[in-house]
Amino acid sequence: MKSFKLKLWSIFFSTLILSFQPARAATIEGIVVDQNGNPLTNIQLVYTRASGARGASAVTVFSGTDGRFRFPDDYPERINANTDIAARGLGYRQVDRLVEANRRTANLTYIMQPVTNQVEVAPASAWLARIEDRAEQAAFIMNCIDCHQVPASEVRDYAALIDDLHASDPVLARRQSWDSIVKYMNFLSAWEFSRGGRPEGVEIDAEAVYAVENSADVVNLLTGIFKDRLDHIEGYDWGAPIITTADTAIWDYEVPEPNAIREAVMLGDPAMLLAADVGANRIVGINVRTGRQQDFEVPTDVLIAPHSLHRGSDGMLWVTPLFNNIVAKLNPANGDWQTWELETSTGGGVGIHDLSFGHEHELLTDAGGRVWFSDIGNRAVGYFDPADGSTEIWNTPVAESRANDSALYGSAAVYGLVMTVDRKEVWYSQLGNGVFGGFNIDTKEFIGPFVLPDANAGPRRISISDDDVMYLALYGTGQIAEFDIKTRQMLGIYDLPDTASAPYSVTWDPVRKVVWVPTANGDVIYRFDPATKDFGVIPMPRERAFLRMIDIDPATGVLVSSYANIVENVNGPRMAFIVDPGDGAYPEKFSPATASAPTTAE
């Protein structure tokens, strides 16, 4: 009896000791196999964490060549059969999952089945292969994919609704329905882009802003290509090798709605993701380690709608607006702002899009410390002096071959801007007419203009290498252009693996010596290697991954960007994210648990 009592006390104390031990964080690892037990590589494992979990909202890893995967860092939450970790791969469906978990380790086995219908993973761009004429495809992308993907899942749902009508004249029904959708979209975009200066109660002119000018053509195209339920797609592939490894990881940080997150960079110590909310007057700061969020309100009386973000070499964040002429600078360490309301010496207004990026994708000023900008409102380039606010602009020359078309000239907005390594030239892109050019800061003379083959090429954000080679993301034609600024020669224009992927931006990676290309309609990031002209692919872990500009953390080489579906009632993720390509290219390894983003003073 005594022995039994002793045992009871022993069990009691053991239990007590165990219960006072700090909760152990668990590692999550496992393997992905097919139904024959063969390992599958490049399958995404997407861990959607519970609301309020410390750190990222979702973490994604990829299975390696042996089918094995391991999530980075450890997780304090209990992993069990209900934990939301899904396997995802183009042409595969998860059919089973086995979970063996204790307090230290969760070991997961995923069994995948090949499927013919790729609808669950294929990106919106896959459906646009139905547009066989490249010029027609480019025109459509330039018209319809400014704010969201086409056909995103809700567009495909709408195609099913049209089919469900069982109309006696199905072509007429489709035409009328898609015509209504184009008008509806015109209204929404007019609403979105007039928020900065729309008096209360004034009706929106849906034809005024970003409206589809040739809506009859667009309706004809939609009627012709979207004539089924859009619920079945076969034969799509990423078009280039997947470059992920077992060390690749993606951390998504969700921003609570309502918001219209536009783009993001990472700054500060501890590291913070700073995301522009174009739907409000704020930058959202997200602590990478904890996931805690705070707002940095821009101290202006009018809505500037933060749009483009630029990392300063001094650790500051430079913000340009969607709506007006106010440039803002944020010190993320203390939340202090400085703003400049730009006005030319003749009292003219400016409309800023980008500040001049240097080859390290930081804001680069000229030798006099002046900040150069692309002026989307005046089709101009210009500078302002942060010391006194003085501002001057120069209107870009008209490209003769595109001058006769008033619609093209009217939409020839000056968009991206980069500065050469010697800080003596800035180079710009013009979105609406397929033109780019340079400007000599000393002589105040333009270089070019240079005309891209397709007026709907859609050069958006541009980047420059440490050897003064400029890269242009051609949104409409689904290409990137490589232009040698030193010799003024085009080195090449390269089709992306999917020409309907709508590349929004390009970013030169000064350590890897490659160009990263985020897409708006393809749910992927491409890597372009200038040495071989080859592409590689990183598939993103979710649909409607409407990607924006990529910034590269100079210390760890992780890619920072955002899912940026705008217009508040458009569906889709609104997140900032970090991608570790898992190539070990930078000496310092990124981890959210220890993240800091060292900055160098000028």
Binding site: Y158, L161, L165, A173, F187, W191, N569, N571
Partner: protein, 103 residues
């Protein structure tokens, strides 16, 4: 006792009212396609109300479902777009407000 009072308060908390439904209609930008009296991309709200007011209880449910999931065939060839960001409760309040516009 305090706890029970709190629970009771939750239990009898009113649903979103039809008046709030009007604000929800504004927020969801339904006026992109609908107006009060005149035909736009979709039918006028008053016409919807006039057609369905006699069966308002049933049609509140039907219209709420249509607001969220979209649908078509009632007023012609053009289906209404789905509004997946509207909750069921909000959609019912919006439908109640629309049906309440009947003359």
């Amino acid at each position: 006792m305090k706890k029970y009072t709190l629970l009771l308060a939750f239990a009898i908390a009113p649903n979103i009212s039809a008046q709030e439904g009007e604000a929800l209609v504004q927020n969801a930008m339904c006026y992109a396609c609908h107006q009060m009296e005149s035909l736009s991309l979709g039918p006028p709200w008053q016409a919807i109300a006039a057609r369905h007011a006699s069966r308002s209880e049933l049609m509140t449910e039907v219209l709420a479902g249509k607001i969220i999931r979209g649908g078509g065939g009632t007023w012609g060839n053009v289906p209404m777009v789905p509004n997946q960001r509207v909750s069921e409760e909000e959609a019912k309040a919006m439908a109640e407000w629309i049906l309440g516009l009947a003359p």
